[in-house]
């Protein structure tokens, strides 16, 4: 992000400093925080029966007439150019309708990169897509084949003959560090933060730790592979996609293909897991272009290997964390710097210092991230980008310092909790990490931990307990829209383009709509996953729920006005103004005089209306610029390390979360647990094997890339403070990503407690413990 952007965000913040809190959105807490009926109740997922019965249609399952199937050919070369290309045999193969290469691919521009300045920008890579014979990373698509069956397409793809002239590629992390860039900002924050003189404080402090931590590249492994089924109808484009960004994808595709915005429709009601990887990448563009050339609908489903080749994962990092403390254990210096990969044509800055900016108070602070260029498919957002691995480094270092000082690591953390945001000085909207720690420690049995590492043994197994803090910022996206429609029978439909990635979006928003409109849950229908509906922001940054909630609140306000107008004077509500009524009991009632009530049915019937419908956008999300809004967690881990083999077996995990209102304990617990399981993978097993000699990923299969297996996953206990955030819709902050954060450090700290060995490089495989 640019310097200009720093200035803009900075000046908005300064201006907001002058605005009284109650003028801001959320200044008056959402009344539903106090008045919850459906919200906060355990409810199983509305889409559950459909999923279990196999009735939920995913993008690769949509039936179409005259459908052809696509297969991609990837470059095994990392940098260079195509010197020979012979497609004759492939074209002549049975069933083949089209072979598309850079020769016949329609000429297209490039995608604007995901960013904070343009919300329709959803590109993960700004490289040209099959526009020339140049190879820019290993795995780049060089050809696409369409055929009547998938097998025919696969077969023909193997018949394409290609030669390359390879050139030297930049593939080595350590070597590329010398040419690293220092961006001006990281997302919406200024990159370089320097308060006081951290190096001097470090040098003079009675206690300090100063280490390098390394995390490897990782890849998203959603069960559903990236896939789309696409059809052109004249100048209209219909895309059934597996995407986390329905509305923005449609807008971006319209721009790229030179179509009117309304002529592109993206449908994505169900997504089988995204984790940040299901944005707009080359494969969608290629399939759409091929469908146009062939004049037939196209289905493209990536293979698992294909996902590794052309969908970026999490960047590897090398992070330095140094902390100094005075004799009382107050931090006098906090340093977090490092390197991650971000090619100039990528969008994700892997913001590993973000958690550090809000978690601890320190007299001096030095934070800066540096970006390395490599010739790779650009890395992208992967569940809690930044925080997932940043908390590994930071929270390992805090544990190391606690050990060096002989202080309990929870106690050391509590001594350094900030009162206000340590860098911006903004007040926290709500912050109860201390309580999360105390509650979690009690339930977990933290007092049983032996401070001296390596002292608990059962047979060959060394037992250890560890804990760490997790962190994730609150965000609400601008550009969230919701349509509310009341029907004559008193039911309501909520519509917006958001998608269900398995997190329970529909379930929770139906609960929300029920309380917002004073209706029972079964009177609400939620329409989603369609760009023809009012636009919702992408499902990212754990902000979909709050963003939709904000828009629905705005729509509900508008609906009240509309209903009062329709109700006219011949109603118990006559004379009441919008501010004097609220939704209650399937209708509207006076706030001061609840007996003055009329139902939706009655209002609509009298007005002779079948429906009444309003659409509204959420207010500008200024609350998180004025307030420091962060979720945090205390993660606890009990594990065993074999004294013989170094194998680690996690026995117990507990997450104690401070994330605002929990809207649905069941869906929330699933999000937390799922995140924590992914955290176990991060800690112990997951690593993309990127061969630095060639620039090629070598373990592009689920057999070789180790996500945790069932036996790796212990009982996972989750709990929460449940304290509402007075500044956010419903009092809720996002919960989709925080689960993964803190877990790797909790595991590493428990491993240290068990063995006395400190592993500063993920994953913690047994060879590091021999």
């Amino acid at each position: 992000m640019s310097r200009v952007q720093n200035v803009v965000v900075g000046s908005v913040r300064t201006a907001l400093g002058w605005v009284p809190a109650q003028w801001l959105p959320g200044g008056t807490p959402d009344p539903l925080i106090e008045r919850r009926a459906a919200i906060g109740r355990q409810a199983s997922r509305l889409d559950g029966p459909q999923k279990v019965a196999g009735e939920a249609r995913f993008a690769a399952e949509v039936a179409m007439d005259r459908l052809v199937y696509a297969t991609l050919v990837h470059s095994p070369v990392t940098r260079g150019r195509i010197t020979r290309l012979d497609t004759a045999a492939a074209e002549a193969a049975p069933g083949v309708t089209l072979v598309m290469t850079h020769r016949n691919m329609p000429r297209l521009g490039t995608l604007p990169l995901i960013g904070v300045s343009d919300l329709t920008a959803v590109g993960n890579s700004s490289l040209p897509i099959m526009q020339d014979g140049e190879i820019r990373y290993n795995g780049q698509v060089v050809a696409l084949v369409l055929a009547d069956t998938q097998e025919q397409a696969d077969h023909a793809a193997g018949l394409i003959e290609l030669d390359y002239a390879a050139e030297t590629a930049r593939t080595r992390f350590a070597e590329a560090k010398a040419g690293a860039r220092t961006p001006a900002s990281i997302l919406i924050d200024k990159n370089h933060v320097s308060i006081g003189n951290a190096e001097r404080e470090l040098a003079s402090a009675p206690y300090r730790v100063d280490y390098l931590y390394r995390t490897p590249g990782q890849n998203h492994n959603a069960i559903e592979l990236h896939a789309l089924t696409v059809a052109w109808q004249g100048e209209q484009l219909l895309v059934h996609d597996a995407t986390q960004m329905v509305a923005a994808s449609a807008a971006a595709l319209a721009k790229l293909f030179g179509l009117k915005k309304d002529d592109v429709r993206v449908l994505s009601p169900f997504v089988g897991g995204g984790f940040g990887g299901k944005g707009l990448w080359d494969h969608q563009i290629l399939a759409i272009a091929a469908a146009r050339l062939a004049g037939r609908p196209v289905r493209l489903a990536l293979s698992r290997e294909g996902v590794y080749r052309i969908i970026g994962g999490r960047s590897p990092t090398e992070q330095r964390v140094a902390i100094a403390a005075d004799a009382q254990g107050q931090f006098t210096a906090l340093v977090h710097t490092g390197y991650s990969v971000m090619p100039p044509y990528g969008a994700c800055p892997e913001q590993y210092t973000m958690g550090t900016r809000s978690l601890y108070r320190a007299r001096s602070v030095e934070i800066v991230q540096r970006h390395i260029d490599l010739d790779i498919v650009p890395n992208t957002f992967m569940r809690a980008p930044g925080e997932a691995i940043g908390t590994f480094a930071l929270e390992s270092a805090v544990d190391e310092l606690a050990h060096a000082m002989g202080v309990d690591p929870i106690e050391l953390r509590l001594r350094n909790l900030p009162e206000r945001h340590p860098i911006s000085g903004a007040p926290f909207s709500q912050h109860a990490l201390g309580q999360a720690y105390r509650d979690g420690a009690g339930r977990f049995g933290w007092e049983r931990r032996k401070a001296e590492p390596g002292t608990r043994r059962e047979g060959e197994w060394l037992i250890g307990l560890g804990c760490a803090t997790g962190s994730f910022p609150y965000a609400r996206m601008p550009g969230a829209n919701v349509r509310l429609t009341l029907h004559a029978d008193g039911t309501a439909t909520v519509s917006c383009s958001a998608q269900e990635m398995g997190m329970g979006t529909a379930t929770v928003q139906v609960q929300h709509a029920a309380d917002r409109l004073g209706l029972p849950i079964d009177a609400i229908t939620f329409e989603m996953g369609d760009s023809a509906l009012p636009a919702a922001p992408m499902a990212g940054g754990s902000c979909q729920t709050a963003s939709i909630a904000g828009a629905m609140a705005a729509a509900a306000d508008k609906l009240i006005g509309e209903l009062l107008r329709l109700a006219g004077n011949d109603t118990p509500l006559a004379g009441l103004r919008a501010g004097e009524v609220r939704f209650a009991d399937a209708g509207i009632a006076g706030i001061a005089a609840p007996a003055r009530h009329e139902t939706f049915r009655s209002i609509l019937a009298r007005a002779g209306r079948e429906t009444v419908s309003v659409t509204a956008a959420g207010s500008m999300p200024l609350e998180f610029l004025k307030f420091a809004m962060h979720s945090s967690s205390a993660i606890f881990c009990a594990l065993r390390v074999s004294g013989v083999t170094g194998e680690v077996r996690v026995d117990r995990l507990l997450g104690s979360f401070d994330c605002g209102t929990i809207l649905n304990p069941m869906t929330a617990a699933s999000q937390f647990r799922g995140g924590m399981i992914m955290g176990l993978g991060l800690a112990l097993t997951e690593e993309t094997l990127f061969d630095e000699r060639s620039g090629r990923i070598m373990n592009a299969t689920l057999a070789d890339y180790h996500v945790p297996a069932h036996l790796d996953v212990p009982e996972i206990d989750v709990m929460w403070t449940g304290i509402p955030d007075p500044r956010s819709p419903l009092g809720a902050r996002g919960i989709g990503e925080i689960g993964i954060t803190g877990v790797a450090a909790a595991v590493a700290n428990a491993v240290f407690n068990a063995t006395g060995k400190r592993v500063r490089e993920l994953p913690i495989t047994l060879d590091k413990l021999l």
Binding site: H74, P76, N138, E151, D154, H155, A157, G158, E460, V644, T645, G646, E647, R649, L684, T685, L689, D691, R693, S694, R696, M698, N699, T701, A703, D704, H706, P708, A709, H710, L711, D712, T765, L766, D767, L770
Partner: protein, 328 residues
Amino acid sequence: MIPVGYVRASSLGAIPPMLAGDGHRLLGGGTNLVDLMRKGVERPSLLIDVTALPATIEEAADGGLVIGAAARNSAVAAHPLVRVRYPILSRAILSGASAQIRNMATVAGNLMQRTRCVYFNDVAGSRCNKRAPGSGCDAIGGFNRYHAILGASSACIATHPSDMCVALAALDARIRVDGPGGARTIPIGEFHRLPGDTPEIETALAPGEVIVAVEVPASPFAGRSTYRKVRDRASFAFALVSVAAGLTLDKERIADIRIAFGGVAPKPWRALQAEALLRGGPATSAAFEAAAAAELAHAEPLAGNAFKRELAKRSLSAILAELAGVSR
């Protein structure tokens, strides 16, 4: 994807002539071969399904077992005679793959499964002497965490990935084969070959030969034998190191002993040197450690698998101490 023919072999006698054609291959459960076809590593022209070969598990006259080539891995592991007399074999099989794969996989297929070397599997992007003789070996100097520290050559450092075969090696199993040259029996120790200059030749099977059964001789080790697999996650991962061992005691002395390693060599690695050192000697931790060290003294580790020497030593010492009931 390459077009391929498919036939089912109805009898053993029918197989050798069918196998004669170029690119004709036997198909068991397909859990390895079909995977490799998808990756383009294997390119058969005809698949001869041999799952109709005998799948029985029968007692032999000498008190051992004869396991039909088409017996499913899960059926072998669950068989009462196997569980009682060869717990080591049952455990080895159950520590491999997943329940679904074990349900499909056959005994012959398991014996014949190919290495998991990631460069071997990468037709488009990597050089591999085993897949394309003479092209080079990208595992040397690359990711070789799963590769061999014993028995490798400068042409190939791949490991044989089977768990079952490690137990069979410790049990002195024999492989019954049939083919154009007639029926014969190959000791398991001679069945898999070290790579030398010809890593593409992996077994002693002659062209046209088919595995018919596996004979497991009677074993005195049932009571004191086990299999331990050390891996990167708790299940569904190949061995970094595995140990199959069994012993009999005569008071404090080791009367007899069998040891085999998995994950460290191009074949199930029978630790003959360690066995010889221990046989007739005292069952003490010191003796176990010395024997383990001697066996691994010839290890030639690489950057990615240097830890295996220590891991193999420790695993073996620990397993022997456990079997002998010696505290460490």
